[in-house]
């Protein structure tokens, strides 16, 4: 397919200045291509919300020594996994103080700060950032070839031979282009979150951290019977606390999202951590939760899809990642688009360098390896039976019930399993799926 650059406003139009879009713009601009980066919010990040941790290792390629300038709240040095039963909690903690020094691992950050910072790198690389502009559709020529996008600005049509859709979880561009036919609600979760203010020294004391070091807590159970999970992340002088809720289950449960947060906050294991905190900001966002099974076709003639728009979020139990997958997929899309322009072939064949890169990198390799895990984690047994079962076993192991002698662990497991209503075969099957899934 031949392109005629003279009629174009740019070589590449990137829709959405989130982590995927900004990395696409950086990569393409660095490769010498002209790039327009369009953002519908008044500034990059203004529409974006997440749990709270970003793993920026992939930025080594685009922004060397990123940790020196990135707007960080706290470097995560402690990871906790918390299993909540009605009144109990099992906490598994891991601490690595090495994660609090270069080259670092993960950090809490506010997305409006982080996304803005990353978009500035795109601008420095030469991309034209256009904010407060909503893309309303794809432009096509008489042969149906993608020619750019229409926007809500007066005379707002923008022409380019390649459009990279980084327009987020609702991606209307991917839907409009037919790449994303299914929007089955069961593939999505709703994340709702409170940013809770507490003095820094109180957060330090309650969570056992100092300086700019922080904590990441993932919670299973405690979501009022709605399949999902909870999270707590420490920022400098706020705590991000929220829940992620499977959409069809939420709708069926007759319990509103803010009620589920309120119940989590009342749990005896959570309440002391957040006592006295003020709600500074309430927020919500939808998450593409089903991984590989919901991903759209990512390449079409003249178009690539990256980030949440391509359902890149990894929601695999102990691993909850998304920004890194967005940044990587965006970067690969930007590189592949620049290549396609250079060889004057913007057909899906010419753009296939994108999927090649995704397949070779962690992006699709992690998703393939963990394909079954999102379903397992959100399954009814894992959600409604295992937290009480595990907490019940641990409670009895540690309970001193004199004058009775200590029961054997095998007996406890058997009795608690029956009490929780878990069949032995189901337990073995889930264990097998888990071991293979996490393998």
């Amino acid at each position: 397919m031949m392109t005629s650059p003279t009629q174009h406003d740019a070589d590449i139009i990137v829709v959405g200045a989130g982590p995927a879009g900004s990395c696409a713009a950086i990569a393409a601009a660095r490769a010498g291509k002209s790039v327009i980066l369009i953002e519908r919010g008044p500034f990059p990040g203004s529409k974006n919300m997440y749990g709270g941790v970003v793993y920026p290792r992939i930025l080594d390629e685009l922004v060397p020594s990123w940790w020196e300038t990135m707007p960080v709240q706290r470097w995560v040095v402690k990871r906790s996994t918390m299993l909540l039963s009605d009144s109990g909690a099992l906490n598994i903690d891991f601490r690595a103080n090495s994660w609090g020094a270069p080259p670092y691992n993960g950090a809490t950050a506010y997305r409006p700060d982080f996304d803005n910072w990353l978009a500035n790198h795109a601008v420095e690389a030469g991309a034209r950032l256009v904010c407060s502009t909503t893309v309303t559709g794809l432009l096509r020529d008489s042969n149906g070839r993608i020619q750019g996008v229409s926007t809500d600005r007066p005379d707002g049509d923008l022409h380019a031979p390649i459009v990279i859709a980084c327009d987020g979880v609702n991606s209307f561009l991917a839907k409009q282009s037919g790449l994303y036919p299914h929007t089955d609600a069961s593939n999505f979760t709703l994340g709702v979150k409170e940013t809770l203010a507490l003095p820094k020294h109180v957060i330090d004391e309650r969570f056992g951290v100092r300086d700019n070091l922080g904590v990441d807590i993932e919670i299973l159970g405690g979501t009022s019977g709605v399949n999902g999970g909870g999270f707590i992340y420490t920022n400098l002088d706020t705590i991000a606390l929220g829940v992620v809720l499977k959409l069809p289950k939420l709708a069926a449960q007759q319990k509103r999202p803010e009620q589920i947060i309120a119940e989590l906050k009342r749990h005896p294991a959570i309440a002391p951590l957040i006592e006295g905190a003020e709600v500074k900001e309430y927020s919500a966002h939808v998450i593409p939760e089903a991984g590989l099974d919901m991903m759209p076709t990512m390449v079409a003639d003249g178009m690539l899809v990256a980030g949440d728009a391509a359902a890149m979020c990894l929601a695999a139990g102990i691993w909850l990642e998304g920004v890194n997958f967005a940044m990587a997929s965006g970067m690969y899309a930007g590189q592949a688009a620049a290549e396609a322009i250079a060889k004057n072939d913007v057909s899906s064949r010419g753009l296939s360098g994108y999927t090649d890169r995704l397949e070779k990198s962690f992006v699709l390799r992690d998703h393939r390896k963990l394909r079954k895990v999102p379903h397992l984690v959100l399954s009814d047994r894992v959600q409604h039976k295992y937290p009480a079962f595990v907490a019940g076993v641990v409670e009895r192991v540690f309970r001193v019930d004199n004058p009775h002698p200590k029961p054997g662990v095998r007996r406890i497991v058997r009795e608690e399993r029956k009490k929780a209503g878990i069949g032995l075969l189901d337990l073995l099957r889930d264990g097998w799926t888990g071991m293979r899934g996490f393998g």
């Binding site: 979150k193 009342r266 927020s283």
Partner: protein
């Protein structure tokens, strides 16, 4: 309405009011609605998924069996059209550029 709300000690929940909660988020409201709800479709709906699931609580049942919808404090999350079982009941777009939800510490 204060922009922040205090959580009281000792089980002083149920929490802050929904108005206070939503008042902590910034919405730059455009005069034109970006989401419209077709009341006729809603009248026959018994499941009302949107009423439960919308995190901004924008769908309010009316006494005559319809749904009252206000677009102004919308997070633009997409939950409503994803959970809705009635084809064509909700038409959903993003607000005009620069308008709608503006997050700060998320």
């Amino acid at each position: 309405m204060s922009s922040t709300a205090r959580i009281e000690r000792d089980n002083a929940w149920p929490e802050i009011s929904f108005e206070e909660r939503i008042g902590t988020a910034e919405f730059r409201i455009h005069e034109k609605a970006h989401i419209t709800v077709n009341g006729d479709s809603c009248r026959g709906c018994t499941t009302r998924e949107c009423v439960v699931a919308c995190p901004a609580n924008l769908f309010v049942p009316t006494s005559d069996g319809g749904i009252l919808f206000n677009y102004e404090n919308c997070f633009e999350c997409g939950t409503c059209y994803l959970v809705c079982n009635k084809e064509g009941a909700i038409s959903w777009t993003y607000p005009e550029g620069g308008y709608g939800i503006v997050f700060h510490r998320t």
